[in-house]
């Protein structure tokens, strides 16, 4: 693949390098009438054979209708009706999930005791209703049939009584030895109850040790804080007040427990600034080696290797009059430009400026960032500090190393692992697999019989958050009570219960449940007041009021210490590996979740597997193309990976995603992806320099969706600016309707419509998974994705603009447009897709005969066809997740976004029964509810002053492919470009 620079347009917008370079193969695929049959179409079939097959098909069609009368179905009522349950109406419970130990507040929907859908908790002071794809997909993990089901000892089943007495004996033994040789390994613990339990457990065993290990840890931030303040302080960023944010390889919008809040603050601040025009737009400046969600939203971004980012940080400190040793060498031109713009913006913003260092940056850069923020006066303004939220804030890398040493030395008598999976996700050089076997007794508590569990003597299945009583703190310290929505599906125990048995309780305390333990914790915290009210309010709200961590005044920074820091020397052309958590699977804990495996990742649009991300520059240099396998060698270790060329990747950096190629994740993850963990060592946890790449002869087809459903270059993504605020393009077609009017004059009717704000959208994918959960959308697997048959009703198109070494990036979610003049409707021979009175483009599954004419005629390519029976193979437990208000589709049926018509109908019926209209904002589609940036607005065009109507009146409003006179009900709000004149491409 060679760049062909004959494209006449100055700044082309493109979806993939193939498109930019005008690759012949892409053109071939696009021109095909049925790309989804590309590899299936039997070219050799003769006319005679064709007629034979068709004839047989026709003859047998009638047989499909013949079946004996069905057995009558059972209806099984309750014996005792539970309180508040109205069969047929869902209940909603506020609770929280854990992500890296921190609370992700949720409201879970439950149908007759069966949780089916997770929404964000709009009342929560931190997240305000946003969700992540992982939160949405967590419901599938609850029902995962591969979750471990039984307590095992040495691979054999153990009955509960034997288990309890064994745990008590172990606890008794460790107490007698004063805890010598007892090591507990947990993930990040923010649960006050669990922390209280562990502390009391350890107080009786003073010599025992508590280790913490989380692969996506924040060690560098901790070390940076120690270096700066002499103690561990936790920074919290307030983006809503920021006018200029400089991200030094920090992914504010995609990583970390407060990302949801950052996304929301940034989106709302930008929108408000643009609409009111009374202040400059807040801007982000990003220097990063590999594209992140933050980089995509940045006003200016530069692709720079990790060492270059460090040098940039020193140079920035120099510009802002901090006495540091500035880098001697000149910066490359693009970095210099970024530096100039960023330092000017920071100086102008003053206390409303903010500098953030990413976790993969060394502690020195974190220290610099703190000093810069202090210099700007940002402390107390855009950044505040609290005591650490973690209950046991230690250096994770160090903590795990100490454990590994003790294990290797044979000093460990009892090893208790709560949740962590260090064998699969820990540093390879600690050789934990061998070490764990040296422990006298090892106990593993987790959701899956994973790599670590398989090496331990005991395995105890853990409860999912939706099955247990617990508590947890969010990134800002706000505590939530975790309440169960369903009894443990497979005899699992929560960590609280396991610890209770291990602490060898006296007889009268053996019945203490996790609920009792949590209530005890909060009975102390609730203090004087009425505990019953406190408890009920906290459960109802989903968080405990006033439990946010108080801000503390950080000590003054000793700037003299900064002088001792020195920027790294530029490392010439040596290649650097970057280890990054997979955007969907994280450290691999979500590997067995099919929704997340099939979720196209934000930039590469890869599904089902990973790849080594290389820059277009490196691809050209090595002469390799996407899918070619490379051998990566570093020290003694070597791994193989297919490559993927990623625009915007720093030239000499190769990004590897962790969490793939796991050995014991479950059936979904089997043979998916290539592990990178063998190269990951404690010392080079985030980046590894000086590696060599060699091309092997193998080629692996990558299941990326970036070229699926192409609409091609037709002014799809538009941007505006303060000077040119209108996104409208005149196509020279009639503005008015050429066709007779539909029955839309009735002012009392609802007319549904949607807008999607491209300025707010950060491409996080939460809407895609939310839609999948709400609408019973099946996953299809890697092979079917390769054929272009993924079923997502909403896809996020990612566009690049400009030079491929550092292009601008745009995200565009594309659901069904619900065209008023829908091209799909007029071609359906059986009227299976029709127009409703409220302007919905309806899809009636039971009418559909599968001609796929509609899909062919849809210019937006939003229709999805069940080529095979994708839903039939679901395990019984997975069927419990299904939304009972949405039909499960069978093979041979077309489907697409319905604007969540089940929610519309429910809202309409509720309103009708109350004798009123549906209120604006009462009804939210699944995608809208999931969005942390409030990018999606949905509502009625006939309601005076409705949010969607206001959005449609914005000059930023435009429809895609409007010139076809489809009159889409879904429209977009253009991106706001701060430093350009606005463009319509």
């Amino acid at each position: 693949m060679q760049p062909r620079r004959d494209n006449p347009k100055p700044e082309p917008v493109w979806r993939s390098l193939e498109e930019l370079y005008g690759d012949e193969r892409l053109r071939e695929v696009t021109e095909q009438e049925f790309p989804r049959f590309a590899e299936l179409w039997p070219d050799g079939a003769s006319r005679r054979q064709f007629l034979k097959v068709m004839g047989a098909g026709l003859a047998m069609m009638g047989l499909a209708a013949c079946h004996p009368p069905r057995e009558a179905e059972d209806i099984v009522p309750y014996v005792e009706m539970p309180e508040n349950v109205v069969p047929g109406n869902p209940l909603h419970f506020a609770s929280a999930l854990r992500d890296r130990g921190f609370a992700m507040p949720i409201v879970a929907e439950s149908h007759e005791g069966r949780p089916t859908k997770i929404e964000g908790n709009a009342d929560h002071p931190l997240t305000r209703g946003g969700t992540t794809p992982q939160m949405q997909a967590s419901i599938l993990t609850l029902y995962d049939p591969d979750r471990s089901r039984e307590v095992t000892h040495g691979g054999r089943l153990v009955n509960p009584l034997a288990f309890q007495s064994a745990m008590r004996q172990l606890g008794e033994a460790s107490r007698k030895r004063g805890g010598r040789g007892l090591h507990i390994l947990t993930e990040v613990v923010t649960s006050p109850t669990l922390a209280r339990q562990i502390e009391s457990f350890l107080s009786e065993r003073p010599e025992a040790q508590w280790h913490v290990w989380e692969p996506r840890n924040r060690d560098n931030a901790l070390r940076g804080a120690m270096q700066t303040f002499g103690r561990h302080l936790e920074p919290h960023y307030d983006i809503s007040r920021a006018r200029a944010v400089v991200c030094l390889d920090a992914d504010l919008f995609g990583e970390g427990p407060a990302a949801l809040r950052h996304v929301r603050d940034y989106a709302l601040a930008r929108r408000e600034a643009f609409e009111k025009r009374d202040r400059p737009l807040p801007q982000v400046f990003a220097a990063e080696p590999t594209p992140t969600l933050t980089g995509a939203k940045a006003a200016r971004r530069v692709a720079a290797g990790p060492r270059e980012v460090e040098r940039l940080a020193f140079a920035l400190a120099g510009r802002l009059d901090l006495e540091v040793s500035a880098p001697r060498e000149d910066l490359p031109r693009d970095q210099e430009a970024l530096l100039r713009a960023a330092s000017a913006a920071l100086q102008a913003a003053g206390p409303q400026g903010l500098v953030v260092a990413g976790e993969s940056q060394p502690p020195a850069i974190h220290a610099l960032a703190h000093a810069l923020n202090e210099r700007l006066g940002a402390f107390g303004e855009t950044v505040r500090f609290t005591e650490p939220i973690e209950a046991h804030p230690v250096d994770h890398g160090e903590s795990l190393r100490v454990l590994a040493e003790a294990l290797h030395a044979g000093e460990v008598d009892q090893l208790v692992i709560l949740g962590a999976n260090p064998v699969a996700c820990g540093p390879a050089d600690l050789e934990l697999a061998a070490a764990i076997k040296k422990a006298n007794v090892s106990i593993h508590h987790g959701l899956f019989l994973d790599e670590t569990a398989r090496l331990c003597d005991w395995h105890i299945p853990a409860t999912h958050e939706l099955e247990e009583w617990s508590d947890v703190r969010a990134a800002d310290g706000t505590a939530s009570i975790i309440q169960p929505l369903i009894a443990p599906l497979w005899g699992a125990l929560s960590a609280h219960e396991l610890l209770r048995w291990l602490s060898s309780p006296p007889l009268d305390q053996q019945a203490t449940s996790a609920l009792d333990l949590v209530r005890e914790t909060w009975a102390e915290a609730a203090g004087e007041g009425d505990f019953r009210t406190f408890w009920r309010t906290s459960l109802h709200d989903g968080y405990i009021r006033g439990s946010e961590a108080p801000s503390i005044q950080p000590p003054r920074i000793d700037r003299r210490a900064l002088r001792e820091l020195a920027p790294p020397r530029p490392d010439a052309a040596s290649l650097t590996l970057l280890f990054r958590p997979d955007p969907s699977l994280g450290d691999g804990r979500w590997a067995n979740n099919a929704w997340l495996q099939e979720l196209p990742k934000p930039f590469t649009k890869l599904t089902w597997g990973n790849a080594a991300l290389i820059s277009p520059h490196l691809a050209l240099q090595m002469g390799i193309k996407d899918g070619d396998e490379i051998l990566i060698r570093a020290g003694d270790g070597e791994i193989t990976q297919p490559v993927f060329t990623l625009p915007g990747q720093a030239a000499h950096c190769v990004t590897l995603w962790t969490g793939h190629g796991r050995q014991a994740a479950g059936r979904v993850a089997e043979d998916i992806g290539w592990a990178v963990e063998p190269l990951r060592t404690a010392a080079d946890w985030h980046a590894l320099a000086g590696v060599t790449l060699r091309r092997t002869q193998k080629h692996i087809e990558l299941a990326t969706t970036q070229n699926h459903f192409l609409m091609e270059d037709r002014h799809l993504v538009r941007s505006v600016s303060a000077e040119h605020p209108s996104a409208h393009i005149s196509h020279g077609v009639h503005g008015g309707n050429l066709l007779p009017k539909m029955l839309t004059d009735d002012p009392d009717s609802y007319q549904w419509a949607m807008t999607i704000d491209l300025e707010a959208c950060v491409g996080c994918n939460a809407c895609v998974v939310a839609c999948q959960a709400e609408n019973n959308i099946p996953t299809v697997g890697r092979r079917e994705v390769l054929r272009g048959r993924e079923m997502h009703w909403i896809r996020i198109d990612r566009y690049w603009k400009g030079d491929e070494s550092n292009p601008k990036m745009y995200f565009q979610p594309v659901p069904c447009m619900h065209c008023e003049k829908a091209p799909c409707e007029i071609v359906c021979p059986v009227a299976a897709t029709t127009h409703s009175y409220e302007g919905l483009n309806e899809m009636t599954y039971n009418r559909c005969v599968g001609t796929r004419y509609c899909s062919n005629n849809c210019p937006y390519k939003v229709r999805r066809f069940n080529f095979l029976d994708y839903t039939g193979g679901a395990a019984p437990s997975e069927q419990l997740q299904r939304n009972p208000s949405v039909t499960v589709r069978m093979r041979g049926v077309m489907e697409k976004c319905t604007y969540c018509v089940q929610r519309i109908n429910r809202a309409r019926n509720d309103a009708q029964m109350d004798g009123r209209r549906i209120r604006d904002g009462e009804l939210k589609t699944a995608c809208q509810a999931s969005c942390p940036a409030e990018a999606i607005t949905f509502g009625d065009l006939h309601t005076e002053g409705s949010a969607v109507r206001r959005q449609k009146e914005s000059p930023r409003n435009y429809g895609i492919l409007e010139h076809l006179n489809t009159q889409p009900r879904t429209t977009y709000l253009a991106v706001v470009d701060a430093d350009e004149g606005g463009s319509k491409h």
Binding site: P77, D746, G915
Partner: protein, 248 residues
């Protein structure tokens, strides 16, 4: 060379000419009737239930309101099948030793639900909502027939799509005050006024029934939408036949 066809073959040929169309018509008729919703859905066939519960006895005989057991019919898409507790609230006192009720007692004391056989089974791609229909004033009888006269429940109507559409196209006569959400023979006409109704209810059974009048607050609106004299082009009437009203 002798003749291949004998004169008697003429008759056989004529018989074949007659038999082929008659046979084809017969097969077609068989298939047609076999596939009628009445046949497929076993209209009129009483289902054998684990307990031979008689609606006739409980409703006509004792005057129990439908909603005493089907509690969620007004507030949920699903009318609700009573929990065993509901049965036992009476049958722990009366007929407490009856052999016929043994499964009910077993269910209650062993905490094991009774698996009733579903009589009215719509296809899974249809989303029917009891609450909307009942609140619009569609009487139970309209779809379920006179359950109060059924010893064991059978399906009275075809419940085919055409049958649903009959009403969705022209709901005029089927909703409104004159038809009511309780069996016909117990129905009190609304014209008599809410007070009179309550009196009648009291005489039927002494348990409190939700005030009848409150349910009819929306009546004017519903009548406006659904009345016969509304133009057939009335948008909202048209909306009632939109696919996504039932299929999604």
């Amino acid at each position: 060379m002798s003749q291949i066809f004998h004169p008697k073959h003429d008759g056989m040929l004529r018989a074949v000419f007659l038999a082929v169309p008659v046979g084809l018509a017969g097969v077609a008729a068989l298939l047609y009737f076999w596939n009628q919703p009445d046949h497929i859905r076993e209209v009129g066939k009483a289902h054998v239930q684990p307990v031979p519960f008689s609606h006739q006895h409980h409703v006509s005989g004792l005057g129990i309101d439908c909603r005493y057991c089907h509690t969620s019919v007004e507030e949920s898409p699903f009318a609700g099948i009573p929990p065993t507790h509901t049965c036992m609230s009476c049958h722990s006192q009366i007929w407490a030793d009856s052999e016929m009720l043994e499964p009910v007692r077993a269910s209650y004391f062993e905490n094991r639900p009774i698996a009733w056989k579903r009589v009215h089974d719509l296809p899974d791609f249809v989303q029917f909502k009891h609450n909307v229909h009942v609140n619009a004033g569609v009487s139970c009888i309209e779809c379920h027939g006179e359950v109060s006269e059924m010893p064991l429940v059978w399906q009275e109507e075809r419940l085919s799509m055409g049958w649903c559409l009959d009403c969705h196209r022209e709901p005029g006569g089927r909703v409104g005050p004159e038809r009511y959400v309780v069996p016909k023979n117990l129905t009190v006409r609304l014209e008599e006024g809410p007070d009179a109704e309550r009196e009648t209810w009291k005489s039927i059974g002494d348990y409190p029934v939700a005030t009848v009048a409150a349910e009819f607050e929306n009546y004017e609106l519903i009548n406006r939408i659904h009345s016969d004299d509304a133009e057939s082009t009335d948008g909202r009437l048209f909306q009632l036949t939109n696919c996504s009203i039932c299929h999604y």
